[in-house]
């Protein structure tokens, strides 16, 4: 039994290490400066100091931001404004925004 648990632990560890070694495809081609420029479009509505009405996104995990944007782009998440904004973003732009907002202080 201990052996099985140990093997499982090793397998999971290897998987995590392997995953870490691979660059996250969703964040491929991220360009920080481009993200900073594109963030202007988000900052008309999103602000850091409050979640009232519209969520604060500064400092969120890059992968989380990228996945959310893709869900809006594919209209799998509700909200017309976000579907519109994300719908006009390509992969590079999504990755750039994700790493830029991740870099900001919460």
């Amino acid at each position: 039994m201990v052996n099985i648990v140990f093997k499982f632990f090793i397998a999971i560890s290897c998987l995590l290490i392997f995953r870490g070694l691979l660059a996250e495809p969703l964040l491929d081609g991220a360009d920080f400066d481009y993200g900073e420029y594109l963030s202007g479009q988000c900052l008309t509505c999103h602000r850091n100091s409050s979640d009232e009405g519209i969520p604060a996104i500064n400092g969120a995990e890059a992968l989380y931001i990228a996945k959310k944007l893709i869900l809006y782009k594919n209209k799998e998440l509700e909200n017309e404004v976000m579907q519109l904004v994300a719908g006009a973003l390509d992969e590079e732009q999504i990755a750039s925004l994700a790493i830029y907002f991740n870099s900001l202080e919460k």
């Binding site: 900052l43 404004v81 579907q83 519109l84």
Partner: protein, 422 residues
């Protein structure tokens, strides 16, 4: 080459090349100068982004007459009693404290585009390398027979926020029981396309509670308007029988207004009002006219940068520009400001310039917790700003969705004012 050693030739050549590669204006020791005229959604955003993103490499001066800026957006919500007046007022203090913007509270009187100087009301002049004009609208008082600067206290347009909206609110609150509120919306193109109809909704909201037998008559110089189906369904739902909208084909045209008798004469009839909001036609703020960057009433721009077609050193943002598919709104001006800021910074400091990307959403409040919205995003075409995709609220969406849309608009208001003034 005889008297010139190889080494000094190479240095000379390198120096020449680097001089050529640099923008002409940054060859001197002084920082390049950007002057922004108008501290609204376009101007305040442009000043803030240029100063913030250039990290002090560009000297930014913002010229704005008012010390406190009262936003036009949400002034209807103040009118309807959903916001207090102070909550739509903002100061410029953070622009200087946080980003080093030199804020000058004065009027820009004239532009000498060949000398690249702006003359102020005080008589002082300010030099620029790039000039951003974001003056908003001027009212064409003579576009309606009988209307004038003096008439605006009796029949306020209240289309520039501030004290006139206060006057209008007082007039609505003190209207005789069972009286008539008349609204004359402006002809196209004008600032804030859904604004007149949100205003009607807000007046109806007050009257329903305080003066339920009062009537609202809308004498429109147009035959259709923004979010028409949504507004009209909302009026019928929340204020049944109170609002009568008369299109141009029906009344045959507005002939004149009389602020003394409070009458509005059309081909069809003469309407007598107890309170009247009359919003005339509009044009670009006077400074854009003076700078020679207008064609007719507005300034044509290059979509990729917001530079004027007339003068590459002058940018025009927001209501004063011909932004084609983009409506004249605070959101549009804020969006255009970021495109211009990126372009100006690139020109003056060689920073990277990214492709223009524009967006706009206009939220309107029809009644308590009944918010609607229309939005689009845009790209820079060769000649015009073009729509990429758009949406509009649906007439059959539920109450919960409408409440959420209203809450989202509060988030947006706080977001955009932070983006302008923090």
């Amino acid at each position: 080459m005889n008297n010139l050693s190889r080494r000094s030739f190479v240095s000379f050549a390198l120096a020449s090349t680097s001089l050529l590669a640099m923008p002409a204006i940054s060859t001197g020791s002084a920082r390049p100068k950007v002057v922004v005229v108008g501290g609204g959604a376009g101007g305040a955003t442009a000043a803030r982004y240029i100063a913030k993103d250039s990290k002090g490499a560009i000297d930014v001066t913002l010229i704005e007459a008012s010390k406190h800026y009262y936003t036009c957006f949400y002034s209807n919500l103040y009118l309807g009693g959903f916001r207090d007046y102070d909550s739509i007022g903002h100061s410029y203090d953070n622009l200087s404290a946080n980003h080093g913007v030199n804020v000058v509270h004065d009027w820009a009187i004239s532009v000498d585009s060949s000398a690249r100087k702006v003359r102020l009301g005080s008589g002082a002049t300010v030099s620029y390398d790039r000039l951003v004009l974001s003056p908003g609208i001027d009212i064409k008082y003579d576009s309606i027979d009988g209307y004038s600067v003096e008439a605006q206290t009796k029949m306020p347009h209240a289309w520039k926020s501030g004290t006139q909206v206060k006057v209008l609110r007082d007039q609505v609150l003190n209207m005789p029981k069972g009286g008539t509120f008349a609204m004359v919306p402006p002809p196209n193109p004008y600032r804030c396309p859904p604004g007149p109809y949100e205003r009607i909704s807000m007046v109806a909201h007050i009257l329903k509670e305080k003066n339920p037998t009062a009537k609202i008559v809308v004498i429109d110089p147009k035959n259709k308007f923004s979010k028409q189906g949504l507004f009209m369904a909302g009026w019928e739902k929340h204020y049944p029988g109170m609002v009568e909208w008369i299109d141009n084909d029906t009344h045959g045209g507005i002939k004149n207004v009389n602020p003394e008798t409070m009458e509005i004469e059309t081909d069809l009839d003469t309407f007598k009002a107890d309170v009247a909001c009359v919003v005339p036609a509009q044009r670009a703020g006077a400074i854009a006219m003076n700078a020679g960057v207008t064609d007719g009433d507005w300034s044509p721009i290059v979509p990729a940068s917001m530079q004027t077609k007339a003068d590459g050193n002058i940018y025009v943002l927001g209501d004063a520009s011909v932004a084609s598919a983009m409506p004249k709104s605070g959101f549009s001006a804020n969006s255009q400001a970021k495109v211009a800021a990126n372009h100006i910074r690139g020109e003056l400091t060689d920073s990277r310039v990214f492709p223009a990307k524009f967006s706009n959403t206009c939220w309107s409040l029809v009644a308590t917790n009944d918010g609607i919205k229309v939005g689009a995003n845009y790209k820079a075409g060769e000649e015009k700003i073009e729509v990429v995709d758009k949406f509009v609220s649906k007439t059959d969406e539920g109450n919960a969705k409408r409440k959420k849309t209203y809450e989202e608009s509060i988030g947006w208001y706080n977001g955009i004012t932070t983006d302008m003034f923090s």
